[in-house]
């Protein structure tokens, strides 16, 4: 159990430096500062190449730190040998020793530490039930399913009683159902063991469902660090808004227009306009182009809304999804309303005022009221 602090951490790979002269954009990780509190489950999330795995590898001691400081509790670990950092690591591809039994795989690192066999057994049997691998202990890795292999892999990382558990895309290789099961179990495990845990993933659903806090990265830069609900409900920029949530937030280019002293979001090449929530009237001027962000659930069917034509109606059982085309823009609306619409029907829509997001069209940053 420990607190992890990254302070202005940079990473630059040498070959990039040579090629491009080491411009700012060439940092794999660029001035990252985050604090993971004791016992917290933190997700590092982003598309491939965003620097998330590099960050994890610097914490683990697998990569040199170009600049900045990393602390575990109050110890600076920049130059600490990986084995002395008190870290448990589990990678995506399991990396189990095929000739060894599950028990011996789990015990491997403890034996390397010259722990007595009796103590090893005690430790293995402490973690094995939590990860539900007791019945697998005599088996060889080849006989295990993907989900079982990952359980063993995580057990092996935990058995060393790490201060910090690092998981690199642990669920990526698993099929849908197994991923969902193991996701729930990882969450339970974290509750039982209480070990500070960092998970690296490109899957926003995984990061959302597991983490206490999510660190969203892009091009080496931290975009937002907050609870799953914060990054969902209040994304700081258009990138986070589009990355978090499935189906994604509707992000549409609109122009601010005025009619009878009321401001509207007007869709280009169409007569559809949606009233601007009053709280934004001070910060938006007529004629400005902005990106309007509305989650599919926050687009509402209402008598007093703007009429639009349904392009797609999907009945998905638990919910219905309605696709709407306005000029070149496409919007998705999700409703649990039982009405069965069809393509071509006219519905009236409006926005959930409190849940309307507006982003600057140039910078992508959120415009706040």
């Amino acid at each position: 159990m420990a607190k992890l602090i990254l302070k202005n951490v940079f990473k630059r790979y040498d070959d990039r430096k040579k090629k491009k002269g080491g411009k700012l954009a060439d940092f794999a990780v660029n001035d990252l500062t985050i604090t993971c509190s004791d016992g917290e489950f933190v997700g590092i999330l982003g598309p491939s190449g965003c620097g998330k795995t590099t960050t994890l590898r610097m914490v683990a001691g697998l990569e040199e730190i170009t600049a900045g400081e990393i602390y575990i509790d109050d110890t600076l670990i920049n130059h600490l040998h990986p084995k002395d950092r008190g870290i448990g690591l589990a990678f995506e591809d399991y990396a189990l020793y095929p000739p060894l039994t599950v028990y011996d795989n789990i015990a491997f690192n403890l034996r390397a530490k010259k722990m007595s066999e009796a103590d090893i057994k005690k430790e293995v049997m402490r973690i094995a039930p939590l990860m539900k691998v007791e019945e697998l202990l005599d088996m060889k890795p080849a006989a295990l399913s993907g989900g079982q292999k990952q359980r063993v892999n995580i057990t092996r990382a935990l058995v060393r009683r790490p201060k910090l558990l690092l998981l690199d895309e642990p669920l990526s290789h698993l099929d849908g159902k197994m991923r969902q099961i193991l996701r729930t179990e990882l969450k339970r495990l974290h509750k039982e063991v209480g070990c500070t845990t960092i998970i690296v993933t490109h899957d926003q659903l995984e990061a959302m469902s597991l983490s206490d806090k999510i660190c969203i990265m892009k091009d080496g830069l931290l975009q937002q660090f907050g609870t799953p609900y914060e990054v969902y409900d209040d994304p700081v920029n258009v990138f986070v808004a589009g990355f978090i949530g499935e189906p994604p937030m509707n992000l549409n280019k609109v122009t601010i227009t005025e009619e009878d002293n009321i401001l509207y979001f007007s869709f280009p090449e169409s007569s559809v306009k949606i009233a601007v929530p009053s709280k934004y009237t001070k910060v938006l001027k007529t004629g400005r182009h902005v990106t309007l962000g509305i989650r599919p659930n926050d687009l509402l069917i209402a008598e007093d809304g703007s009429p639009v034509k349904i392009a797609v109606f999907e009945n998905l059982g638990d919910e219905k999804r309605i696709g709407i085309r306005i000029g070149d823009e496409y919007l998705t609306l999700i409703t649990s309303d039982e009405t069965l619409y069809k393509q071509g029907d006219i519905i009236r829509i409006k926005v959930h005022e409190e849940k309307t997001h507006i982003f600057d069209i140039e910078t992508g940053d959120k415009i706040r009221a």
């Binding site: 969450k187 959302m208 469902s209 998905l316």
Partner: protein
Amino acid sequence: MANIELKNVTKSFGKKKALNDISLQVHDKEFFVLFGPAGAGKTTILKTIAGIELPEKGLVKFDGEIVNLVEPAQRNVSMVFENYALYPHISAYDNIASPMRSPLYKKDEDYIKERVMKVAALMKIDHLMDRLPARMSNGQRQRVALGRCLVREPKVFLMDEPLAHLDAKLRHFMRAELKEMQANFNTTTIYVTHDYMEALSLGDRIAVINNGQIEQLGTGDEMYYTPVNEFVARLFGEPEINIIDAEFVLDGGNKGVRLLNQIKSFDIPEDVYDALAATGKTQFHIGLRAIDLNFSFERQSEHDIHGQVYSIEPIGNKAVLNVDVNDTILRTVSPPDLNAEMDSDIFVSVNMKNAMFFDAENHELVVRHNQSQYTKAVK
């Protein structure tokens, strides 16, 4: 334009029976979905229709005519594959044009150009026509592959998991676009998928395939509301439906079902009661979708099931809330901003009107409330 029929089709690969007595009819201009888990036999059915696989037993008919011995090329089908299978060395335009340049369907270049540009506009890839596949994104490649399938006017489109390789977000948009285009297809389409949302969204009718057999054939509503068995019930919906033991109780004034060792039994609608009583059995499985379970942190009724919060997993517009009731996990959904400690007390109520009852031994559907309402079209 064609009716496609499979009659008692059987096919083995070595010892494994890939297709076991498959019979189905696809109507003219219907969008028909073959849905099921990996290895179920969906693609084998598609290949049998295309003529790439030959049935050991049974008949394949196009418009009533047996085509078992007709060469694939002569069947006039158009297929799109999961892995796109684009020609890497020619442009998007030439890829899409390729079926119409084959000796069998040879058309003049003016006609080809008109058709290709029409499909390109439909697929929104007009601007990519000169590009090689290597310089396209996955989504763009998939559009080209779909375009190549749609460019001809064959008897039937055969689509094998065309969206499976796309990420979740792109899949949402492409599925909606396919759905939007459907009206323009005007051609019988058979579509293979393992994604229940694609099946529900796109299919006029769906055949659920498992172990080389048809588990159920019908509309999306039938699958969702009246699955013939527990297997089909589990395939539709996210999170997965809860299926737990239910004991039918008749003692005294108690007419209902008892779940999870609760003392109080739950009242059930009369039609459900009658159907359960008619079986003469007392042990059933009950299927409850996550949205049919409600929760509260204080007891609201004597029927509430007392449990503990097992986990809360926010997934955007909602959270999956797992509740532990004496080691049985109930999956339910909550608002995404729910604030509750793991292991804290929680009470679950059940919407019995939407419950499905399955036979505890053979796992087949016994009854649900208002069952006839959901089964307009019969198997």
